[in-house]
């Protein structure tokens, strides 16, 4: 038949003319737009994957993260913009350049693993080597090494349908690593594994990447996975990148409510900004609790004017909960301490999760240390730490 995606006669990949190569970018996307029919799923995306890093694309389903991955490897073609790989343009409609996936020499692990059921483990892993016309002695060595690397040394002759989910995952990994591609693409590779195995594989992939130095572009909708695995995370929202940075940056100082809520749970208090000083301290009046005033060291919310309504946000694990009867009476008056009651208590093993109702009726889902004894109906004081909050426009 025909090549998957070859439109017209494309000249051999053109040398990219910018400095991104020297800056250590393996893949660069510039102004990439992708439409399926009339639906535009990516809008002018700019992205750079740096050599040796694990970059995670994180976002809800339908945000365009898998499409981005498929564009990088060439299973889809850009509608606008261009993609370069190792300094060569591999996809640009304007320049009439398109390198089909089988000529890009990248590796990809699919969500469903895509282990070919009619082959053994060895044949699966040897397949890309045979496609590259490697010598049979070389194939045996490389396949053996790749299988060893993913911990499947003894299973080479096993037929693919007899593998467990975790083993299929490892075969898929070995198959995409065996020809030592510069870039490895992983499309939600752990989503079909059970929770325990998922954590194990995450750690293994990270160790493997550190050892081989392969650049990895990783797609997931699981923020824990993104944070634990990545050197940098790009949060995607409705076809563009909302924020990109280290996991710590994104978790601690998100720049938009979308990123804030996607990176973790948030507790919100409605309030009015009364004033702020040069040191970053802000005085707010809570909308509830008779307009109680409290002072916080906030980050963000630069655009909020004095007297405007806004939201105070804090991660639930930063919020401290104290048994009310164990506190000195004068402490109750502290402005960042709110009275409440435990409505429901859920034991999680290492800690408790509690639904706490504050005096003005707001309900919060908070964590309590397992060391103390708690009971439902108990009166508590909820302490919002003074320097862990962020301020958001209403």
């Amino acid at each position: 038949m025909v090549d998957a995606v070859s439109y017209g006669k494309a000249p051999a990949a053109v040398r990219a003319t910018n400095a991104s190569v020297e800056r250590g970018a393996v893949v660069t996307l510039r102004g990439v737009t992708k439409s399926f029919g009339r639906v535009e799923v990516l809008h002018g995306l700019d992205l750079e994957v740096r050599r040796g890093e694990i970059l995670t694309l994180l976002g809800p389903s339908g945000c365009g993260k898998t499409t981005t991955l498929r564009l990088v490897i060439g299973l889809e073609r850009c509608s606008e913009g261009e993609i370069s790989y190792e300094g060569r343009i591999v996809d640009s409609r304007r320049r009439r350049v398109f390198v089909p996936p089988h000529k890009r020499n990248m590796g990809m692990v699919f969500q469903s693993y895509a282990i070919w059921p009619h082959m053994t483990v060895f044949e699966n892993v040897a397949y890309p080597m045979k496609a590259r016309h490697a010598k049979s002695s070389e194939i045996t060595t490389m396949v053996g090494r790749a299988l060893e690397l993913v911990g499947l040394g003894g299973l080479a002759s096993r037929p693919a349908p007899q593998l467990s989910g975790g083993q299929q995952q490892r075969v898929a990994l070995a198959r995409s690593l065996v020809y030592e591609p510069e870039l490895l693409l992983l499309d939600e590779p752990f989503s079909n594994l059970d929770a325990h195995l998922r954590e194990e594989m995450r750690a293994e992939v990270k160790v493997l990447q550190r050892r081989l130095g392969t650049t990895i572009l990783f797609v997931t909708h699981d923020q824990t996975e993104a944070m634990s695995l990545a050197d940098r995370v790009a949060v995607m929202d409705r076809g563009s990148i909302a924020q990109i940075g280290t996991p710590q940056e994104l978790y601690g100082t998100p720049t938009s409510p979308t990123v804030r809520d996607f990176m973790g749970k948030t507790v919100l208090f409605e309030c009015t900004l009364l004033g702020r000083d040069d040191a970053g301290l802000a005085l707010v009046a809570l909308a509830a609790d008779a307009g109680r005033q409290a002072r916080f060291r906030v980050s963000g919310g630069a655009g909020i004017g004095i007297g405007e309504r806004c939201y105070l946000a804090v991660r639930p694990e930063q919020v401290l909960v104290h048994p009310r009867n164990e506190m000195a009476p004068d402490q109750h008056a502290k402005p960042n301490l709110f009275a409440g009651q435990i409505d429901a208590l859920l034991f999680l093993g290492d800690r408790y999760q509690a639904q706490v109702r504050l005096t003005w009726g707001q309900e919060l889902l908070l964590y309590l240390p397992a060391a103390a004894t708690w009971q439902e109906g108990q009166g508590v004081s909820v302490e919002v730490p003074e320097d862990e909050v962020t301020l958001w426009p209403a």
Partner: protein
């Protein structure tokens, strides 16, 4: 039958009293259904086996012996028929397989435009009745007067390759275009569509081109589905009858089914040797039947994991050329022969285009006066309606028992339902001929339309039951159990829950059975008589007598009846989102 009675009494004992009323009722029903289906499926075959060892003229003194079998295996004419059957089947299947795999892959896995319409087109090609369309093919490809060759002759400097449709290759060609290729596409496209696209994509990203991926990944993974389609196609090819009868006659090409037909209709009828020949045919079929059972019973390994994506490959600049090629093929196998058939009904002499004035409407005016034609039309309508009603009732019962109950011996019923699809229609017909002529109890039925209704129902049983059963299985037992749990009786549940939910699929089967019964030839060919002769047999008789002109009008009537019924079935099916079998 003793075994069944024993089984059902054992059933009644093993169930707890509280469930007894419902289960006893279904057990009784089950026994009756099993007995009736078992009788009509197995007894005719048994009669064939017995009678293949009866030597002597029918109606005269006979004795046991192997003479019939000896004739079947040694007479040159019979040996040639067996060889023809096998070589024709092998040729057709190998060509159909390669073409079908390629077409199914393009329709299911690439972004060729209008792929759902293309798939629908092959479905249309598959249901179009064989004999009427054959007339269209003859008109187009006849070696002397064929329209195609007359047109080609007008093109200067073009040397026409000589092709005669009344030949071995003519039979192959008409089979391929009419059923061979469309059937492969129909069976394989859904299977290809369900393949995880990542399996292909993983090969592309490993550095392998699309062409090599198709050969190294897609075809091997699809091997089980392709094998099933091949075995089914082989069984169908071995059963073929009417095309061979018409196209093979001038060149004296016989296959087993046509030879059986000729021996029954020659004077005096050779019942003995035709019956032995029928048993030889069954023996040839046995390995394929076993293979089919084994393949469908085995779990296919087509998908390793449950999750899959169904993304399509981009054909790029090839998109429209590929579309145009498939569309041309579709038009050639549907619109072209059908229009030629309709055109031919207005011709004075079939296939003779160069008369001074070749056109007339007298053929159609004859309908109003020809009593044979009018009676055949009524017979066809009665046959279609009768088979359709009987099928809807019986098939739903069988499907319900098979899908919804846990009765022992259910496997036997499944086997009996499946068996008729593997036995050539002409052989089923021969078995029933023995049944109706040789059993005094049934003899009064011979020559009535009821005989045809019974065999037509039997001929549609496998597919019909399968579709209703699939629908019932999809519904899930919970729906039914929920009704019992809230206090609905068995009958109330059946009436208010099951019947409304399966009604669309049962209606679809009713219409499909109507269509197949009206166009059925081989299964009714030996059971027709002047009194019960439907349109299809009238057309066959005209054709085998060489009078093509009157056959055209009959052909158009059959085409109309089957098209209306089949399209009705399709519309209901789409409206209620029924999956295909």
């Amino acid at each position: 039958m003793a075994g069944i009675a024993e089984a059902s009494s054992r059933l009644q004992q093993t169930f707890r009293p509280i469930l007894a009323p419902r289960l006893r009722m279904s057990a009784v029903l089950f026994t009756i259904v099993l007995a009736v289906v078992g009788f009509f499926v197995l007894y005719p075959i048994w009669l064939l086996l017995i009678n293949s060892f009866q030597v002597g003229q029918f109606g005269l003194a006979t004795h046991w012996g192997l003479a019939n079998w000896h004739d079947a295996l040694t007479q040159p004419v019979m040996r040639r028929a067996i060889v023809n059957t096998v070589t024709l089947t092998a040729t057709r299947q190998s060509i159909a397989l390669v073409t079908g795999v390629l077409l199914a892959w393009v329709i299911a896995r690439t972004n060729v435009p209008g792929r759902y319409w293309l798939e629908f087109g092959f479905w249309v090609a598959l249901f179009l009745p064989t004999l009427p369309l054959l007339l269209g093919w003859i008109l187009l490809l006849d070696g002397q007067n064929g329209l195609l060759f007359q047109l080609l002759a007008k093109v200067p400097f073009l040397k026409i390759p000589p092709f005669e449709i009344f030949s071995w290759w003519g039979i192959v060609l008409v089979h391929l275009l009419g059923t061979g290729v469309p059937a492969k596409v129909f069976l394989l496209t859904p299977a290809f569509r369900n393949m995880d696209a990542a399996l292909e994509e993983a090969s592309l990203t490993s550095g392998v081109s699309v062409k090599a991926t198709l050969l190294k990944i897609v075809v091997p993974i699809m091997a089980p589905a392709i094998l099933v389609a091949t075995v089914l196609g082989t069984i169908r090819s071995l059963q073929a009858f009417e095309i061979e009868l018409i196209l093979g006659s001038p060149a004296k090409i016989n296959v087993v089914s046509t030879l059986i037909y000729r021996q029954v209709y020659q004077s005096p009828p050779q019942y003995g040797s035709s019956t032995a020949l029928a048993m030889v045919m069954v023996l040839i079929l046995v390995p394929f039947i076993v293979a089919q059972q084994w393949l469908t019973g085995r779990r296919s390994h087509a998908t390793v994991s449950g999750k899959y994506s169904a993304r399509l490959l981009h054909l790029g600049p090839w998109r429209w050329p590929v579309f145009a090629a498939i569309l041309t093929l579709l038009m050639t196998i549907t619109v072209v022969p059908a229009s030629l058939l309709v055109m031919s009904t207005f011709m004075k002499i079939f296939g003779i285009w160069n008369l001074p004035n070749p056109w007339t409407i007298n053929n159609w005016l004859r309908i109003l006066t020809d009593r044979r034609l009018i009676s055949a039309l009524w017979n066809s309508l009665f046959l279609g309606a009768g088979a359709s009603i009987v099928s809807m009732v019986v098939f739903s019962l069988i499907a319900y028992i098979s899908a919804r109950t846990k009765l022992r011996g259910k496997g036997i019923l499944d086997f009996l339902t499946w068996l008729p699809s593997t036995i050539p229609g002409i052989i089923i017909g021969l078995g029933f001929l023995w049944l109706f002529l040789g059993t005094s109890f049934f003899r009064p039925l011979y020559g009535t339309i009821w005989v045809l209704i019974i065999v037509a129902t039997l001929g549609s049983m496998t597919v019909g039951v399968q579709i209703i059963k699939t629908n019932m299985v999809q519904l899930g037992a919970e729906l039914e159990e929920a009704s019992w749990a809230i206090g609905g009786s068995w009958f109330y549940t059946f009436r208010r829950v099951i019947l409304p939910l399966v009604a669309p699929s049962v209606a679809v089967i009713g219409l499909q059975v109507f269509a197949t019964s009206v166009s059925a030839v081989s299964i009714v060919a030996l059971l027709g008589s002047p009194t019960n002769q439907p349109l299809s047999l009238l057309q066959l008789n005209y054709l085998s007598a060489g009078s093509f002109q009157p056959a055209t009008v009959v052909g158009v009537l059959i085409l109309l009846l089957t098209s209306v019924a089949a399209l009705g079935a399709r519309i209901i099916g789409l409206k209620f989102g029924l999956g295909r079998a």
